[in-house]
């Protein structure tokens, strides 16, 4: 039997629409937390990589000094000649370059410094990417306050317009209601508009994230490769500097023969340097491991951002993993910084 339903008042007609609009709004809403975590993690990747490269550069500089001091005069002059900086060609004003610009003779610490800057620039591109994603997902972009203001303004405008024309009640087929009921109209109108904006940005985020997935794979691969290069450099510098300092701690002079003139204080300092080097080396290995894991998880974490938009509440394992590794990197460097502060007092 067909039952004809008639709404008792326009409010009864509008309320389900409002409920539907609000429900659609909840579905379209973008959760900003995963984007914030992704962005914070890649920022930590940048500083972690930079700090790691900085330590290796410092050791490489120290090695250059130590080796130079131990060389015979002729060999030492060859080295210093290669290290000397000259003004760069006219097309790059304001810069200098080594006297011998062939990569074979350029001291390694110069190359490490250049590599460090390259890593930083590369990671900065990733940081900016994370920030741009975070900004598009930010609640500030489609803010509740802005739409509340619009709703209040629209409601007030409708009332004023009705008042100006002397309208006190609005007649609809389902009944009549006073102009006070415009609030419901305004809410539905503004919420619908908000939903459109929310849906638009959600679709854009999903689309752009999908489009960049391949680039993120390339970033991950390069990040892992960069960390591997840092690891090899670290091993190289540690082994070389350790060998030099251990001889000092044992009482050998730069001519690498035992000397009774090497005082106890010098040997003690060298021994302390060995202990500090070991701590820094262990710490650096941990950081490089954490960085390696974070770069490995990066593509999956990036993909999870889109999956979570399509299926809210889906797991964010990779994002949690890179976030945890970022915290580990930060903690490791904080410990090292405190240790260095303690040893310098």
């Amino acid at each position: 039997m067909f039952i004809k339903h008639r709404f008792a008042s326009p409010f009864q007609c509008l309320l389900p629409i409002l409920m539907l609009v609000l429900a659609l709004g909840a579905c379209a809403k973008v959760q900003p937390e995963p984007f914030a975590k992704f962005s914070a993690s890649v920022q930590e990747l940048r500083s972690g990589t930079d700090n790691a490269a900085s330590l290796i550069g410092t050791w490489s500089e120290a090695r250059t000094v130590e080796v130079l001091a131990s060389l015979e005069p002729k060999a030492a002059l060859e080295k210093t000649g290669q290290m000397k900086l000259l003004p760069a060609p006219p097309d790059t004003p304001g810069t200098v370059q080594p006297a011998t610009v062939t990569s074979e003779t350029e001291p390694l610490y110069v190359k490490i410094d250049r590599f460090r800057r390259g890593l930083y620039e590369f990671n900065t591109a990733l940081v900016e990417y994370g920030k741009a994603m975070q900004a598009l997902a930010s609640p500030d972009l489609v803010s509740a306050e802005a739409f509340d203001t619009m709703r209040t303004d629209l409601n007030s405008n409708l009332k004023q317009a009705a008042g100006a024309f002397g309208v006190q009640t609005v007649e609809l087929s389902s009944g009549s209601f006073k102009v006070d009921g415009f609030a419901l109209f305004s809410t539905i109108g503004i919420e619908t508009m908000r939903n459109i904006f929310e849906q638009r940005r959600k679709d854009t985020l999903i689309d752009l994230i999908h489009n960049q997935q391949q680039a993120m794979d390339a970033v991950s691969k390069l990040g892992i490769e960069g960390i591997s290069i840092l690891r090899t450099n670290l091993r190289n510098e540690y082994n070389n500097v350790y060998s030099i300092v251990e001889n000092e701690a044992a009482g050998y002079t730069s001519k690498r023969i035992t000397s009774s003139s090497v005082n106890k204080e010098t040997r003690k300092k060298a021994a302390e340097r060995l202990v500090a080097m070991n701590k820094a080396y262990s710490n650096e290995i941990q950081v490089l491991d954490a960085l390696n894991i974070a770069y490995e998880k990066l593509p999956k974490a990036h993909a999870e951002l889109a999956v979570n938009l399509q299926k809210p509440g889906s797991p964010l394992d990779a994002i949690s993993a890179i976030y945890n590794e970022a915290k580990r990197i930060y903690t490791a460097y904080e410990a090292l910084r405190k240790q260095n502060e303690g040893s310098s007092k």
Binding site: K111, F115, G118, A125, M150, I229, N239
Partner: protein, 117 residues
């Protein structure tokens, strides 16, 4: 994902293994009091060290070249996100302005009505 060293990495690692052995030998010779032999090993290791440095330098330069190819892609993607956010902000600002303008029109209607009375 296990790390997969490339060919240059393998060569560098082998040379570094050798350098480690040299350093250990140098240390042992000094402990035994054979200083001249130890110095010769040290000198030979310095030559090897220069070769390792050269290969490491190449490895870093290669990486930079690859990074320079990927970086513009990421920067272009960043721009797309920024443009999308700016478009949405522009849309919302436009909506706000339309509602404000409607308010002004209502005010004008009110004024016009009051003049007619």
């Amino acid at each position: 994902m296990p790390r997969e060293p490339n060919e240059k990495d393998n060569v560098i690692n082998q040379l570094m293994d050798q350098s480690d052995k040299n350093k250990k030998l140098e240390r042992d010779l000094r402990i035994e009091g054979k200083y001249e032999e130890a110095d010769r090993i040290w000198a030979a290791d310095q030559v090897l060290s220069v070769e390792i440095d050269i290969l490491l330098g190449h490895r870093m330069d290669d990486w930079k070249k690859s990074a320079n190819e990927v970086k513009p892609k990421i920067e272009a993607a960043t721009k797309k996100f920024e443009v999308a956010a700016a478009d949405i902000k522009k849309g919302i600002d436009l909506a706000k302005n339309v509602i404000k303008v409607l308010g002004y029109i209502d005010d004008l209607i009110g004024i016009a009505k009051s003049l007619l009375i």
